[in-house]
């Protein structure tokens, strides 16, 4: 009886395994942001190396670190992470050093090499792959573009009820800080007290606090006309449907987001992981990543210009990057205590 029972199960398992082995000779497990889940990005690498890239999306470094903490060494091979968080993730032992010369950054935008952030004590742990801005996204058919030259327009009363707040505390607190004259690097617990009142006033003037999809829906349907925290990553994918959706960096500045990619410590596929990083940072990989179906963003490697179309570069504002980079500040990099205080303030704002 047991033999009769298990025989079909064994056959099914064998069939499943043989099918899997027919699909790909190997696997690579990547803990990523949603832009890396685009099949158009992964397929060339999978075909070239006869591997299957398994991806798991996460949001926020704290969540990524929690996943790594609960995993066994070898579960993950590649990690995509906020460039400003590479140091603390590496210090926690989750990233393996990248051997010198793994990636040639000579054709990178110089500001985006970010060696200070991608290395610890002179050892490189990751390489920048994509960047963009958290600033103001808006519908220029409903909003005077001149008003968007200053963050102050959001507190003026003119757009009350037509504002959405992007639901991620770091960039939005950074922007509210810029409006209050506080640089992102100076956003400590004392500064949070200063920005509390304008933050609550912004919430009162806003219609919603929303994630990427809900923000895009609200902008596209005209529910809101302005998104604080938005940028090209949000409006670019909507450009074909509504060319009035635009973005700008106001006089006070915007926040530069940058994501890096590294090899997870303990991986048993280090060579393959490094090969994946080389592909992602190659001109072709960069162009595909820049125009990923989840969200667009500037490639860190300027050589992607040879692959991207003129239309794609126009949407990404390729020619304006020098000016934008000069006016943007990096994300706040809070210590654990400040991070907790920031999230407490954010929760209070949501519940206000």
């Amino acid at each position: 009886m047991p033999t009769q029972l298990f025989a079909p199960l064994g056959a099914a398992a064998a069939l499943l395994l043989s099918t899997t082995s027919l699909q790909a000779a190997g696997e690579l497990n990547a803990l990523i942001w949603c832009d890396h889940a685009d099949p158009a990005l992964l397929a060339p690498f999978e075909e070239a190396h006869d591997v299957r890239v398994n991806v798991k999306e996460y949001e926020g470094t704290a969540a990524g670190v929690t996943i790594l903490e609960q995993s066994r060494p070898g579960d993950w091979d590649v990690l995509v992470v906020d460039a400003v968080d590479v140091g603390r993730v590496a210090a926690a032992g989750f990233l393996a050093p990248l051997p010198e010369g793994t990636v040639d950054t000579s054709s990178y935008f110089p500001d985006l090499v970010m060696e200070d952030h991608n290395s610890v004590d002179g050892v490189t742990y990751a390489v920048t792959e994509k960047f963009g801005y958290n600033t103001l996204a808006y519908n220029k058919a409903a909003v005077d573009p001149a008003d968007m030259e200053s963050l102050g327009a959001l507190w003026s009363g003119k757009y009350d009820g037509k504002i959405a707040i992007y639901d991620y505390y770091l960039p939005v607190l950074g922007l509210v800080g810029l409006q209050a004259g506080i640089d992102t690097a100076g956003l400590d617990t004392a500064a949070l007290e200063t920005i509390k009142e304008p933050l609550m006033a912004l919430k009162a003037a806003s219609r919603q606090v929303s994630d990427v999809v809900a923000s895009q829906t609200a902008l596209a349907t005209g529910e809101v006309d302005i998104l604080i925290g938005g940028g090209e990553w949000l409006t670019a994918v909507l450009n074909a449907e509504n060319a009035d959706l635009d973005w700008t960096i106001p006089a006070e500045g915007g926040l530069l987001w940058a994501q890096s990619i590294g090899v997870v410590a303990g991986t048993e596929r280090e060579e393959l992981a490094q090969e994946f990083i080389r592909y992602i940072t190659s001109p072709d990989g960069q162009a595909r990543l820049a125009t990923s179906s989840c969200y667009w963003g500037m490639p860190a490697n300027a050589a992607a210009a040879d692959v991207l179309s003129d239309d794609e570069k126009a949407i990404l504002r390729w020619d304006d990057q020098a000016d934008y980079l000069a006016r943007a500040q990096l994300y706040p990099v809070p210590d654990a205590e400040t991070d907790a205080a920031m999230q407490d303030l954010w929760t209070e704002m949501l519940q206000n």
């Binding site: 670190v65 929690t66 919603q208 929303s210 999230q343 407490d344 949501l350």
Partner: protein, 284 residues
């Protein structure tokens, strides 16, 4: 070995799989969750307890305490609205629709169940938007001079929930109604009761088990739901599940998420205790 002991062993062997299942998939995870809820975060490290700081914070910090009240308020409104809408619908299907069409009527009533819960919530977002069909109709008919905001409010959350739970309650109340003998109503009418009195004094009390069962299920599903308030509520107030997700997704604060989950489970347990006398499924 005596026959009695043999029977006991036989009974234990029969119960053992279910017991092991319950221990493995409920008791142990629940114990782990309670243990985690008494740990605390020090920096980004989880330090084992026992420490009841998380519970103290939940009941003393306004943003956290408010989530409990927001969840209870929304759940109470949704449950009451769903019962008020589902009972007449179930009664009409059970008593006014010919028997051969009742299955079709029920099928139509639960048709929205066939779509994805997330897709249904996003559909409501489009319907309730300022340029959605509701506002276009109301403005077009000059009932409103300009669109009013429903999306990204508690009202939108309540509408999304109620649409879902009316279907659920209709099923539990209908199954209760069709089991009632028509002789109860006939006897009451013979004794001089009006149609309204028959419904109020005879039918309604006899359907209480179905109503309470459906209401309890509504309470449990509604108070633990994350999707609907997240999509339709616009993050303008946080329910307990949203707060739990914030702890997990953003902060990696598993102790606080566990403590909030224990509070959520305690609320559900209290609701069960309040409904227990009616929750005998065999009566439905």
């Amino acid at each position: 070995m005596s026959l009695e002991r043999q029977e006991k062993r036989h009974g234990a062997a029969l119960v053992a799989p279910a017991l092991l299942w319950a221990v493995a998939f409920f008791v142990l995870p629940f114990a782990a969750m309670v243990a985690m809820s008494t740990a605390k975060m020090v920096g980004r490290e989880i330090v084992p307890g026992p420490d009841f700081g998380n519970y103290i914070r939940i009941f003393t910090e306004p943003p956290l305490t408010r989530a409990i009240f927001v969840s209870l308020e929304i759940t109470a409104i949704v449950t009451i609205l769903s019962v008020l809408l589902a009972w007449p619908l179930a009664w009409i299907i059970a008593t006014r629709v010919p028997a051969k069409w009742q299955r079709l009527a029920l099928l139509l009533a639960v048709l929205p169940f066939w779509t994805s819960y997330v897709v249904r919530s996003y559909s409501w977002a489009l319907v309730l938007g300022e340029k959605g069909i509701v506002m276009n109709t109301l403005v077009g008919l000059h009932i409103l001079s300009e669109p009013v905001q429903i999306m990204a409010t508690r009202t939108a959350t309540v509408i999304g929930f109620t649409h879902f739970f009316v279907m659920l309650l209709t099923l539990t109340i209908y199954s209760n109604l069709v089991q009632l003998s028509p002789n109860y109503a006939r006897a009451a009418e013979d004794l001089g009761a009006s149609r309204w009195q028959v419904i109020r004094l005879v039918i309604l009390p006899l359907t209480l088990p179905g109503v309470v069962t459906g209401a309890f299920l509504t309470f449990v599903l509604c108070i633990g739901d994350y999707i609907t308030p997240q999509i339709l509520g616009g993050n303008n107030e946080l329910t307990l599940p949203q707060l739990i997700m914030l702890q997990l997704g953003r902060r990696g604060d598993y102790p606080m998420a566990s403590a909030l989950s224990v509070v959520l489970m305690a609320m559900v347990t209290l609701a069960y205790a309040g409904c227990a006398r009616w929750l005998k499924m065999d009566r439905v």
